[in-house]
Subunit: 126 residues, 2 copies
Amino acid sequence: MNIQFNNRDPVYIQVIQHFKLQIAKGFLESGDVIPSRRELASQLKINPNTAQRAYKEMEEEGLIKTEKNQPSKVTHDQDVLRGVRNELIDEAVSQFVDSVKSINVPLEDAMKLIETHYKEKGDSND
Amino acid sequence: MNIQFNNRDPVYIQVIQHFKLQIAKGFLESGDVIPSRRELASQLKINPNTAQRAYKEMEEEGLIKTEKNQPSKVTHDQDVLRGVRNELIDEAVSQFVDSVKSINVPLEDAMKLIETHYKEKGDSND
DNA sequence: AACAGTGTATTAACCACTTAGTACACCGTC
DNA sequence: GACGGTGTACTAAGTGGTTAATACACTGTT
């Protein structure tokens, strides 16, 4: 567990993003337990409340489920989990297309750039 | 002149982004004059200091040139202007490829999604 | 019962950004 | 020269979101 924080976005947002990536990659699956608020905070060297805020939002989004004082677990709702992946992808696609269209880059050029750039860089694994 | 502000990013950043888009699209060309700080602030209903901050950064980036008490003008340096466009494109491409690779979306899938999405939405003009 | 661990809630402090209020120097025009 | 416009600079206050500090309630274990 380690997150490369940028100092542009709020930490709790980046924490959420981290878990979404883990889910989208399949590293976190239905029912998996995740660290307690305090433990996560300790690992990431952030404030427990920041961890709490991230967890709270994930709870509200249905990503995780917390009962009694059991450790929080990834939801069993497979649709939600698939949704995470799809949303990340849709978001990336929309943003890219919007950017590229806003400055009138032809589709062909955009495609070529992506192809080149995709092959250039090494795989991103954890 | 009108900008659709979001309340996520600082206003002065969005102002800069706006001018970069205008340049990238060719709507703003070398030597074109841009509104005075006070006029821009008035039009966009923002504080003159916020406008000033945006202009100051654009000046430091070499995007605009200000002399004496003439209205600021877009730089005559064609390389800089081309650079703006290229940077916007590179940024979009990098971000997209990073996102998509981080969750292991195959190149083919990514390309297909972009193609579809690109054709779906109408052109974005001002 | 004491303890250590959980989640949760509340309040205060912090911080970047924005805004406000002035002020100064410069230049064209009337 | 007065005036209105420009750019620029500085300080102070306000604002909203983020983070920090602390406390509380609950539960399983010893």
